[in-house]
């Protein structure tokens, strides 16, 4: 197996992609979980398919088009959540489906056979190119820089937004910034596990990490490590057993979560 990773360029790229997206999974995933943005992140991931459709129809570069579409969807959903007096989740659900529908129609209107369409839905980490890796690395750096600078502000608005407002923090701006980072993380994760499964990588590693620590900073570090282990191991399993990589990664991650939760339960029963 290690030989194979060294031997084939696509496996080396896949490995790098897996390790690089772990950074976003851990850092942004932690913020998504503590801010209860899991549903919203799922919405962004699906609405992003609209961006894929636009790219097909207009012949634009998919990565750029999907990024713009996701960021707009994220800000739209964030705005709805902020302004809607009642049931913002209903509106977010609607936007989720509308984005997807726009994508389906635009793809259908585009002539030709779309072989790589499956990749957007279910991921294609084995087909990650050098430019994809560069995109992922740049977004990672952006995420790390912003979270490093504004971690106190992010923690304050996550924990108690009203108090943060009384402190004079620009709550809406920081929320918006967080949503933009979530959108960009979603775009890079679509490459790895596909838009349908994105939600798992943004929530499960962070959820496991949250059980292990009482600090947001450690939650981020731990969930980066958990994501990296699960993605690389999932990749390896999918290679050995010739299974779809995205789904293998997700199932392994979910299994880790399940084992962890039940293990903790058992441990608590024994120790009490």
């Amino acid at each position: 197996m290690p030989d194979a990773f060294l031997q084939f360029e696509f496996l080396r790229h896949a490995l790098w992609a897996g390790l690089l997206v772990s950074i976003a999974c851990g850092v942004i995933g932690s913020l998504v979980v503590v801010n209860r943005l899991v549903f919203l992140a799922g919405g962004i991931a699906h609405a992003a398919f609209g961006g894929v459709g636009v790219a097909y129809y207009l012949g634009l570069p998919p990565l750029a088009s999907t990024s713009v579409f996701s960021v707009l969807a994220a800000l739209g959903m964030g705005g709805v959540r902020l302004l809607s007096k009642s049931r913002p989740d209903t509106l977010i659900g609607a936007m989720w489906a509308v984005g997807m529908a726009v994508g389906i129609i635009l793809v259908d209107l585009t002539p030709g056979y779309h072989a790589d369409l499956f990749g957007y839905l279910f991921g294609s980490i084995m087909a990650v190119s050098r430019s994809d890796l560069l995109f992922i690395a740049v977004i990672d750096l952006l995420i790390l820089a912003i979270v490093y600078c504004y971690h106190q502000e992010l923690m304050a608005i996550s924990y108690d937004a009203e108090y943060a407002a009384v402190c004079g923090l620009p709550v809406v701006f920081i929320r918006g910034l967080l949503l933009v980072l979530v959108a960009l993380s979603v775009v890079m994760l679509i490459r790895v596990v596909g838009l349908i499964l994105v939600i798992a990588l943004l929530s499960i590693p962070a959820a496991v990490a949250e059980e292990l620590t009482g600090s947001l900073r450690w939650m981020m570090f731990l969930s980066v490590a958990i994501s990296a282990v699960c993605i690389v191991a999932g990749l390896w399993l999918s290679f050995i057993f010739d299974l779809p990589s995205g789904a293998s990664i997700i199932l392994l991650t979910a299994l880790v979560y399940l084992l962890f939760i039940s293990g903790k339960r058992l441990w608590m029963q024994f120790s009490s």
């Binding site: 503590v34 971690h151 502000e153 304050a156 924990y159 009384v166 402190c167 600090s215």
Partner: protein
């Protein structure tokens, strides 16, 4: 000289002029006029849903009045925020949230900064002082979710005090806290009142009556704003029904004898 000092002490720190506010066209507050003077210990009382919290949020600038004007420390509520502190009613209930007592207290020192705020040595010192004052220093490493209601309320008080506020607003600070912890918090507030104006919102008239200097009754309109006297008539108007002035058997300076 003495006169000057007295004038300073009596100067208004909050003025609410003819303010109305409604949620979705449902009027919550109508034509409220209220002046809070420096050094006051004001209790805002009224039934649940009577608009007490809304009034405080208007004074903090978290909400904007649809009619009328609010001034805090002679300026706009948003501009006055650095000199005002707030202990919210629904302290975040997310018990899972990964944050420690120390981190919550430090947040009291947080302020807007272009490249992100970094806590200074002074910030840490102030947070430590206030945690010691509320006797929560020993628990500073605990996750906030692991504390009891009373302990958490003390941490939120420390967070508010870190800002060196001139006015502090507390919204139902003693809900869900046993009576001993309540007394502790009120004793603490009493000593703080020597250097800051305190405004406390509560529906628990029994407890505040022993501590406050003045009382405002709010139920959509401002029923009364009195210095140091809760009368049966005031309560009846506020709650729309006769309210017993139960004083836990303690003679109250604030309560008049029952008329009925």
């Amino acid at each position: 000289m003495v006169k000057e000092k007295e004038d300073y002490c009596r100067s208004p720190v909050v003025s609410v002029a003819d303010v109305s506010f409604s949620y979705n066209r449902l009027p919550v507050l109508e034509n409220i006029n209220l002046t809070i003077r420096r050094g006051d210990f004001l209790g805002i009382i009224g039934p649940n849903g009577g608009g007490k919290t809304t009034l405080v949020k208007l004074i903090l600038g978290l909400l904007r009045p649809q009619k009328g004007a609010v001034h805090v420390l002679g300026t706009d509520p948003v501009k006055a925020r650095s000199r005002v502190a707030y202990v919210p009613q629904h302290a975040p209930e997310d018990r899972e949230f990964p944050i420690t007592v120390w981190e919550v207290a430090l947040q009291g020192r947080l302020q807007a900064s272009v490249w992100g705020y970094r806590y200074s040595r002074e910030d840490r010192q102030r947070a430590a002082d206030e945690l010691r004052r509320v006797e929560m220093w020993d628990l500073r490493k605990r996750p906030i979710g692991a504390l009891s209601g009373g302990q958490r309320q003390r941490v939120f008080l420390a967070r508010a005090l870190c800002r060196d506020p001139e006015i502090i607003f507390l919204d139902e600070p003693t809900v869900g806290i046993d009576s001993l912890a309540q007394e502790n918090i009120y004793d603490l507030l009493q000593s703080l009142n020597q250097r800051m104006t305190i405004v406390i919102v509560t529906h628990d008239i029994g407890v505040i009556s022993q501590h406050v200097r003045s009382v405002a009754c709010v139920n959509r309109t401002l029923i009364a704003h009195n210095e140091g006297l809760i009368t049966a008539e005031m309560l009846e108007k506020t709650y729309n029904c006769p309210v017993d002035l139960i004083a836990h058997g303690v003679p109250h300076r604030l309560f008049q004898p029952h008329s009925s």
